[in-house]
């Protein structure tokens, strides 16, 4: 018994005992990889653990299988690795949301391919029981392929919307809820029929139908969801890619895949929940889509032009020089204008001047969770100067200046007071408590993604700085010198 581990290693054909252990160890390394992200100080060690886990999983698979095709496999890994490395090195930090969406689509497609390979060559995966695939395996296979296909086509649409290749505004098809629910029901029924049928001739049409319908429903689900809801969508697709891996893990009885799938699935689900909570919207309403669409926002009555104060970079520089405490609130507009480096320069100048500068980040600022944090980190802003909504909101009363750059809905007081507002109930920054507010905005025309007017524009202490965010900040830095 004691030697069975070693004895097993010599005979690779009959799954030696160390193999499931190796996959388990790999799964533990993946848990440690996520655990490392609890603080920036331990995060890089965490990432290394992830790499170790992956190496263990890949090596274990290669040594326990007939590797007659090792050259082709090596070439496939080299091609993929080269593409992956090149993308990772070249991508701009502002493009991170579409990169992540693109990567999700690859996981989804890989899951579909693996599911199909398992269907076509069940013997290789040890799935044959008395010469046929068991119904349980077929259910797992069908679900894995379906979730993978939904992840793929959904992520492709999300990628297209995030990278501007497709309009970010929601596209609403008539009767879409009925079509979507019907398609989902059909996928479940067809998976059941696939499991019940026996023999290639009987099962093939069902699995083809499941795959095709799942590809279709993936895109149909994401098309009606607007740009402002993209943080939820990206998180949700993250979750799906995990469930796809888990379903494949069930099919193959592989611990590493199951643990990873469960981790990634929960991770995406928690992030979706955090994003929904930060917008005070239910997950169902986000998935149903249409938020910020023209047909819901325009009530017909023309918006009255209320008086506001407009200032110049010199005005802002003068006030910032006098300030003792400045809180900067970045939003998606900062990312679009690539203003993060100029913003860091401005905060450096102010700090040299003795001003306390803090950055305040709303959970849904940007197009994916943590988007603003990465951009500020890229511009070398110390992470201990960057604060989350609940940690800094009480400090606005002591702030001399609230400096809003490219954010809008996250500072809208209507979320606190106006029950009819589409963003009512969303937690927002209390910028109205600051002595002075500077609001960098391209023009007075656009009013945020929720399509609601913002009372902050018209407050006595607000000065609107109407310009491109990067240009305005650079001018302020010049005026400060």
């Amino acid at each position: 018994m004691t030697f069975s581990v070693l004895a097993g290693a010599a005979d690779a054909a009959a799954t030696p005992a160390w193999v499931p252990l190796a996959y388990l160890v790999s799964g533990v390394f993946f848990i440690l990889a996520l655990r490392g992200l609890s603080s920036p100080a331990t995060s890089r060690a965490g990432n290394r653990n992830g790499i170790i886990g992956m190496l263990i999983a890949v090596a274990t698979t290669l040594v326990t299988h007939d590797i007659a095709n090792i050259v082709e496999i090596g070439i496939a890994i080299a091609i993929g690795g080269l593409i992956g490395f090149t993308i990772a090195r070249r991508i701009a930090m502002t493009a991170m949301p579409e990169l992540v969406a693109g990567f999700h689509s690859l996981v989804g497609l890989a899951a579909v391919l693996v599911g199909w390979a398992a269907y076509l060559n069940p013997g290789a995966f040890g799935l044959l029981v008395d010469g046929a695939i068991s119904p349980v395996s077929k259910v797992e296979m069908g679900l894995g392929i379906a979730i993978g296909a939904i992840t793929f086509s959904g992520s492709v649409i999300a990628f297209a919307k995030l990278s501007g290749k497709m309009s970010g505004s929601p596209i609403l098809l008539p009767g879409r809820h009925i079509i979507n629910l019907g398609t989902l029901a059909a996928i479940i029924v067809l998976t059941g029929l696939f499991a019940a049928a026996t023999g290639p001739a009987a099962t093939l049409p069902f699995i083809v139908a499941v795959t095709v319908l799942a590809f279709a429903i993936g895109s149909l689900l994401i098309i009606p969801i607007g740009g402002a809801d993209m943080p939820v969508v990206v998180s949700m697709l993250n979750s799906y890619s995990g469930w796809a891996a888990a379903a494949m893990g069930f099919t193959l009885g592989n611990t590493a895949m199951i643990i990873t799938g469960a981790l990634v699935g929960s991770s995406g689900a928690i992030l979706s929940y955090i994003m929904c909570r930060a917008m005070n919207r239910s997950f169902i309403s986000v998935i149903a889509g249409g938020f910020g669409a023209d047909d819901s926002g325009g009530s017909g009555e023309p918006r009255e032009q209320r008086p506001y104060k407009q200032g110049s970079a010199e005005d802002a520089a003068y006030m910032l020089e006098q300030a003792e405490k400045v809180i900067i609130i970045p939003g998606y507009g900062m990312a679009v204008a690539q203003a993060q480096h100029a913003l860091r320069e401005m905060s450096d100048v102010l700090e040299e001047n003795g001003t306390e500068v803090k950055f305040a980040i709303h959970p849904v600022a940007g197009r994916m969770p943590g988007h603003m944090n990465v951009l500020l980190a890229e511009a070398s802003v110390d992470y201990d100067k960057v604060f989350e909504l609940e940690d800094i909101n009480s400090e606005f009363a002591q702030a001399d200046v609230a400096f809003i750059i490219g954010a809008n809905d996250v500072v809208n007081p209507a979320a606190k007071t106006d029950k009819s507002s589409p963003i009512y109930g969303m937690p927002v920054f209390d910028v109205d408590k600051a002595k002075q507010v500077f609001f960098i905005k391209r023009s007075m025309g656009g009013v945020g993604y929720a399509g609601v007017d913002n009372d902050v524009f018209y407050m006595d202490q607000t000065v609107m700085l109407l310009s491109d965010a990067k240009k305005m900040v650079e001018e302020i830095v010049k005026a400060l010198d």
Binding site: D66, G84, A118, V264
Partner: protein
């Protein structure tokens, strides 16, 4: 492995995931997504099996395609996470 053992691992791993992910600092949510992306490509295990085993040429090529896709994700995902994490700095006190 029988279904119940696999299910047990899955359910427990969901709970582990739940607690571990809540402990992730919100500042690192973007790297979290990038790294979960990379590790979910452990699906490469399935693609490697299909690519390695004889029996069905179609399955082999599907497997090889899966290996390419998953490799893009693994190398790209870990590399971009590393690049992001290297940027999170704190001034020396």
């Amino acid at each position: 492995m029988d279904f119940i053992s696999i299910l047990s691992i899955f359910v427990l791993a969901c709970f582990v995931g739940y607690y571990v992910v809540w402990s992730v600092t919100p500042a690192l949510h973007t790297p979290l997504m990038a790294v979960t992306n990379a590790i979910s490509s452990v699906i490469i295990v399935g693609a490697l099996i299909a690519a390695a085993e004889a029996g069905s040429p179609t399955a082999k090529y599907l497997g090889l395609a899966g290996v390419v896709l998953a490799s893009i994700n693994i190398f790209g995902g870990f590399a971009v996470t590393e690049r992001m994490l290297a940027m999170y700095k704190k001034k020396e006190k």
